[in-house]
């Protein structure tokens, strides 16, 4: 049969028409829809075995228990551990995003440890009389802190520095409190261990005395809007009603309000008074109210090996003579309280001091140090977490490394021990052994949620449990030894890093800085931008809200940027006009820059950028 071109065309046409009756072309169209669903450049989540691993959050002293959901070993989300006696299964926003910190764009990846060690050796050799080698430890009380203290004891002129302990080192027992007066303390917004605070919240009446309606004030049973900077006057008047008239003038409350409050505190005890910046007046008021031994207790120390007892004492930066530190190590690998750089800088010798910072970003003291050595960051690092302020019992828990840190990370305690010529050893395990030897308390393990008396656990099993997520709780039955902050010992004036300007507003720095908490001294996950950029729930770091009148008086009306100036220096900030902030106040979302120039009760001014 002769085939013509027409036949072929007919066949093709018929075939095409027939194909339309089969699923093939329609399937292709549907598949094309599926292909268009995968845009190039969109990351595909890795897959793998899903496991749960446990650790403790090292981002603040609360050290909440954490369950990490891991895919092939990599944590992909964090959650609290239900049943944990202290953190009660809660995690804050910072803690929930902690697993992303190792990938922070501002992560420090390289350092020069050899050069730093050589410079330290040289400077230590040059260290003359009246000069010192110092370690500034932002998170004191850890096993690493003890290594620093031992190292500084081994070095001539060694000094161990730490931020002043809150409440003079006492612990808060919220469970016993019936009335809590908070003088601007962010009790419901990151203070202490959030889970513990919220669990105790139903049992006490909360009175918040604070100039602006903070998150705590919004949920307090009573909010007393007082004038900025009048907290101490109020505390004084509550202790000594004779001063009520002057306090009424200072705070803007009525005399009756103050006297009623004083009555309530005594009538509805046990009471507890907390303040944003450890006002000595507040401590004295606690004393007068009989809080000591009830809501404020002396927490027993976590045991340490006897061999560690030869350690340098804990001192505050202010106690060191000016221009005396030749070598300064700053450990900010575990976030803690921040001390304005200005307060530290004046303690350094004038000629070529050597400052070595151990940090995971360049955003902290690293900006001022000669050497910044990169360290592991939570959840890479391994470190114990000292007891939280609201834990009346001694605790020991370890932030376990869930992710291997990148190569080239410095170990601050090994570095400092080596510089001091001592052997750091495995301090963490040594301390665990010392705790085990005490035989006291119980161990709460996260995976099974069980509490076991310590005496029923073998040392190896104890160490293993601690590394798989557990908390050791020193029992309350433990005899209270080494009391700190007993009634007789209440210091008249607590050591502080910043001057307390509780006087009326000065002309140079007319504004009082109040931090909106919680703001860690370190960077947080980029995902926190959900709270301050993708929404306006919180302010972005390095931003201040102020009353429109204050803005007008400062000549920054209409501007979104300004310069914040304090006695320690100046930095650029974002400004937001907000009528809910009282005039004369700056509500500040801290960031590394602001923390560098602002301490407790800082007065400041804002000027046009």
């Amino acid at each position: 049969m002769q085939r013509t071109r027409r036949d072929i065309l007919l066949f093709m046409g018929g075939g095409a028409a027939g194909a339309m009756l089969t699923p093939a072309p329609w399937r292709l169209v549907t598949d094309a829809a599926i292909w268009s669903e995968n845009w190039p450049g969109i990351p595909r989540p890795a897959r793998g075995e899903i496991t749960a691993r446990y650790t403790n959050c090292a981002l603040c002293p609360a050290g909440c228990a954490v369950r990490a959901r891991c895919v092939a070993g990599q944590p992909v989300s964090l959650a609290g551990v239900a049943g944990n006696p202290l953190s009660q299964g809660a995690l804050c926003a910072f803690g929930l995003t902690g697993h992303q910190l190792p990938y922070h764009p501002q992560r420090l990846k390289q350092g020069t440890p050899e050069e730093a060690a050589a410079a330290v050796r040289g400077a230590m050799a040059k260290c003359g009389a009246g000069e010192s080698v110092a370690v500034l430890d932002l998170a004191p009380g850890r096993a690493a802190s003890w290594t620093y203290r031992r190292a500084m004891a081994a070095v001539a002129n060694g000094v161990y520095l730490a931020p002043p302990p809150p409440l003079g080192g006492a612990a808060v027992n919220l469970a016993k409190a019936r009335t809590v007066l908070s003088l601007g303390a962010p009790l419901l917004d990151g203070w202490g261990t959030p889970g513990n605070v919220h669990a105790a919240r139903a049992n006490f009446r909360l009175i918040q005395a604070e100039p602006w309606e903070s998150r705590t004030a919004a949920l307090a049973d009573e909010w007393l809007p007082i004038r900025p900077g009048s907290e101490a006057a109020l505390a004084l008047a509550l202790k000594d009603p004779k001063t009520a008239p002057s306090a009424a003038q200072a705070t803007g409350l009525t005399e009756k309000q103050i006297l009623d409050l004083a009555n309530e505190l005594t009538a509805n005890g046990p009471a507890l008074v907390l303040s944003a910046d450890d006002l000595p007046e507040a401590l004295a008021l606690n004393h007068a109210l009989g809080a000591w031994g009830q809501t404020l207790v002396a927490r027993p120390e976590v045991p340490v090996p006897d061999a560690w007892k030869k350690a340098a004492p804990e001192r505050v930066v202010a106690s060191v003579p000016d221009n005396s530190i030749r070598v300064l190590f700053i450990d900010e690998s575990v976030p803690g309280s921040h001390i304005p750089w200005g307060a530290i800088e004046k303690k350094l010798v004038r000629d070529n001091p050597v400052v070595v910072a151990f940090a995971w970003t360049l955003e902290g003291y690293g900006r001022h140090a000669q050497f910044t050595l990169p360290t592991a960051v939570y959840p890479e690092l391994t470190s114990d977490i000292p007891p939280a302020i609201d834990s009346p019992a001694a605790t020991f828990r370890i932030s376990v490394s869930l992710v291997a840190p990148p190569a080239g990370m410095a170990d601050p305690s090994a570095f400092i021990a080596k510089a001091a010529g001592i052997d750091a050893g495995n301090a963490l395990q040594e301390r665990a052994d010392a705790i085990h030897k005490s035989g006291r308390g119980t161990l709460f393990t996260y995976a099974d949620g069980k509490s076991t008396p310590l005496k029923d656990i073998k040392p190896d099993a104890f160490w293993k449990s601690l590394n798989e997520g557990a908390t050791w709780l020193g029992g309350a039955e433990e005899p209270l030894t080494r009391r700190r902050g007993d009634a007789e010992e209440i210091p008249g004036e607590l050591p502080s890093e910043a001057p307390r300007l509780r006087v009326s507003a000065s002309d140079t720095f007319p504004l009082l800085v109040a931090f909106t908490t919680p703001t860690p001294a370190t960077l947080s996950s980029p995902l926190m931008s959900k709270l301050y950029q993708d929404s306006d729930l919180r302010m972005a770091p390095n931003t201040a809200a102020l009353h429109p009148d204050t803005a007008r008086a400062s000549g920054i009306t209409g501007a979104s940027r300004a310069v914040l100036e304090t006695q320690y220096g100046r930095c650029a900030i974002g400004v937001i006009p907000d009528e809910s902030v009282p005039p004369g106040m700056l509500e500040v979302a801290a960031g590394p820059e602001i923390l560098d120039i602002c301490g407790a009760f800082t007065r400041a001014k804002v000027v046009a950028a």
Partner: protein, 424 residues
Amino acid sequence: MDREFITRGVKRCSGGKFLLWILPWVAMLIFGLYSAGLCLVKGLNQTNMDNRFAFGLWIFLDLTVIALGAGAFFTGFLLYILKMKELRAVINSAVVIGVVCYSGAMCALAVDVGQPLRFWFTFWYPNVHSMLTEVTFCITCYLTVLMIEYLPIVLKNRKLRDVPEFLVFEHELHKLIYVLAGVGTFLSFFHQGSLGGLYGVLRGRPFAFREGLAIWPSTFFLFILSAAAVGPSFVLLTTWLVEKISKKRLVRPEAMQMLGRISGLLLAVYVLLKTIDTLVWINRTSPGNGFPAAQYYAWHPFGTWILFTEIALLGMVPALILLTPKLRARTGWLVSAAAMACCGVALNRFVQTVQTLAVPTLSFDKFMTYTPSWQEVGTFLAVLAYGVLVYSFSFRYFQLFPDERELKLEVAQVEEEPALVGRY
């Protein structure tokens, strides 16, 4: 040089002059295409729209031009179905306006959606309950119809007529014109209505939500009516503009007045129904949803003035003018009224798109404003420039106004009677 393309018996300006006329529009088009390209390549982050203002300038543009472009279907309906022969003078122009408006709106829509490559999903996974599905289907079909209606106009071009196949094809197409007009009318009624329904069905937006008949909210019918009313007005307005710009008489005054009369009639009915609808909404629908209607107008700058302007000033007033034979007979009044009617409908579409999104729904919402980015304005201008260019070329090379040749001869005859000249 393009002489042989220009319709026999009419006069067009020189090639150079025409080039000078289109040059700024071409420049605008290029800028607009660049803006639209940015939006397509970099994404809609180039716009100032946001999660609250999910719709912006472009949707307002789409709704408005589709309403104005309604002249194409409605004139066709009146001419071919209701046999109003006077309208033959403007039908070609109306078709071109329709093509311009609808294709322009489609282009703007393609830029406006987040994933333009998925446009066919609507046909593949249609949700028959969605007004937008109805709109998409009808507009796509109607644009096809418009293109088929436009084809004979193109094929009648003096030079293209030289191709015998084209002539035959054009003749065959012309036989279809009644079918096309019918289909076009049906489709148009539906999508104009659905465009109104888009907002009327928004139960979650009490400002826009309306009750209605069966599945159609009242806005469905009001949009049909307002589009039908304003379509002839826009044809009238463009015809007058083209006459002014080209300095020629293109249609007879009777045709213009007829357009005005039809527009006025429909506008009057529309204003009446819109008023009733608004009263029902203020007193029943909105309070029933928990929203006292007064609060919508408490958010400045959207006061009650906008309601008054839309219904009374730009609705009732032009309707009365167009319905008064004496006023309608005077060009100034006629054209002004037509322009007012067009503005009124544009304002209605603005209220539907922008005010709906601007007024808060949650008690703690803020009233929001929105300023289009230059990329959005650029894309808007591209549609405008595209329309002017397509119309300009069509006017130059195709016979948009069949009466033009006769009118030219008449003008030559009555040159001594200046009183009549310049009336149109």
